[in-house]
């Protein structure tokens, strides 16, 4: 945790930090200085930071390769200071599978939105997990297509208004919200499937633990780890960040409750 003791030069000169230790600062090595392009309050930023904190703290920057498909987080490579590949929409887990098979001793993760992972990428998601690829899949579930301007996603809640469900999602036209993590958890190839959020400090702390665990399991070749982050999309939801996080807790958790869906028993792969 070297960087936690490193003394940064405080930006607003006003505050005095004499005799105080720095107990929290952004990861200095793994997170670039590029300002994030996300909308104010967007969860993507938090998850990016946490991921990079873990990479920095585990000292695996040199071994980690990330894959981010198109979606608002397509620019992840601007912010994460590690080798990265941008993937076609929905194919991140296939791309990550291939990278991992070529470089089995590297730590590989994909970072995918719900439109990406649960709609166009459904087949790749299921088969990556079913093959038990030794990677971490980070699943940002904000129940909407953020980047393209707020269309309905497979994860969109019933009754939820989006630009393609202007009167609210109905079962007749669009079917039910897809709980893909629950599906993935049933597959023998996965070793750790868990659902988190970043709307409170404690939630963030939990997520960080989950990601750390996932990388640990990956080192042990336990199979696929799948971390869902129930996220917000203030812009797509047409709410303020505070409203969005409140709405998230009240409306998304009932359907997507935080917690572990699957934890490793004995290694699922001999």
């Amino acid at each position: 945790m070297a960087q936690h003791l490193a003394q940064p030069n405080p930006v607003d000169a006003g505050v005095s930090t004499d005799g105080l230790d720095c107990v929290y600062m952004r990861p200095s090595e793994t997170l670039t200085d590029t300002p994030l392009h996300y909308c104010p309050g967007c969860a993507h930023g938090v998850v990016h930071r946490i991921l990079m904190e873990v990479v920095e703290e585990l000292g695996i920057q040199e071994k980690t390769i990330g894959v981010a498909p198109v979606g608002c987080s397509v620019f992840a490579y601007h912010y994460m200071n590690i080798d990265m590949q941008e993937a076609a929409h929905g194919r991140a887990s296939a791309v990550a599978s291939a990278i991992k098979r070529i470089l089995p001793d590297r730590i590989v993760f994909s970072y995918q939105g719900d439109g990406d992972l649960a709609a166009i990428g459904t087949a790749e998601t299921i088969h990556t997990a079913n093959r038990g690829e030794n990677i971490l899949v980070v699943f940002i579930n904000n129940a909407i297509y953020g980047m393209t301007g707020g269309q309905m996603a497979p994860t969109t809640l019933l009754g939820m208004k989006t630009t393609t469900s202007p009167t609210g999602r109905t079962v007749e036209t669009a079917g039910f919200p897809l709980k893909i993590a629950d599906i993935v958890a049933t597959l023998p190839g996965t070793c750790y499937v868990t659902r988190h959020s970043v709307h409170t400090p404690n939630a963030v702390r939990q997520l960080k633990k989950a990601i750390t665990r996932s990388f640990q399991y990956q080192k042990e070749h336990r199979g696929t780890c799948f971390v869902e982050v129930v996220s917000n999309c203030p812009s797509g939801w047409k709410m303020t960040p505070l409203e969005a996080n409140k709405w998230l807790a009240e409306n998304m958790f009932p359907l997507y409750p935080p917690g572990d869906l699957k934890v490793p028993g004995e290694r699922s792969k001999p």
Binding site: H37, Y38, C39, P40, C72, V74, M147, S235
Partner: protein, 189 residues
């Protein structure tokens, strides 16, 4: 007659609707018009802009890199588009939150403290109308009546009670800009 203009600012400052109002006004006057918004992920982070062309003849490209007029509603837009104003053109900007004013000497530069005026009108949302008024006063691309007619189209029914307020804002914009002496005369060039 052909006027090519760019309006830029933060999302939420009413950049797009301001442009659309102009376009409608042009339509009301039977002119050829095109309205081209910035679109897609570059809107993340909250800046928006649109290009409006009002012309008597057919319009070829709706997307341009230089303009007769640039209206900038914030510092980043000002910095980004100052250079896009054609020599002799007009750069009109909301001055309240601008720290580094434009430097060019070959164009007409008009600062408008619209935010301040808007506060006086007790409605920040009128800011863009104030700026629009100022622009109309300077350029006469379309007539004020056409703009009011256009507003009626652009504003959803449920906001029509705001039409008078918008007219007031428009006129206020016209007043303050006539008062404001501007830094460079076209003649300077």
């Amino acid at each position: 007659m052909k006027h090519e203009l760019l309006i830029a600012g933060f999302g939420g400052q009413g950049v797009l609707s301001m442009g659309m109002t102009l376009a409608y006004a042009g339509m009301v006057e039977g002119k050829e018009i095109s309205w081209m918004p910035s679109y897609g992920p570059e809107m993340r982070g909250g800046t928006a802009n649109c290009i409006v062309i009002v012309s008597d003849a057919l319009i070829s490209s709706p997307i341009l890199t230089s303009f007769d007029t640039v209206i900038a509603l914030n510092q980043p837009s000002l910095d980004k588009f100052e250079s896009a104003v054609r020599p002799g053109g007009l750069l009109l900007y909301e001055s309240t939150n601008v720290i580094n004013p434009p430097r060019r000497t070959d164009i007409q530069i008009v600062p408008v403290a619209a935010a301040v005026e808007a506060t006086k009108l007790k409605n920040q949302k009128t800011m863009n109308m104030i700026v629009l008024g100022a622009f109309l006063e300077r350029s006469h691309v379309v007539g004020t009546e056409s703009v009011m007619a256009a507003l009626a189209k652009v504003l959803p029914e449920r906001y029509h009670h705001l039409l008078p307020l918008n007219e007031t804002a428009l006129r206020r914009g016209m007043e303050i800009v006539t008062k404001s002496e501007f830094r460079y005369q076209i003649s300077d060039i």
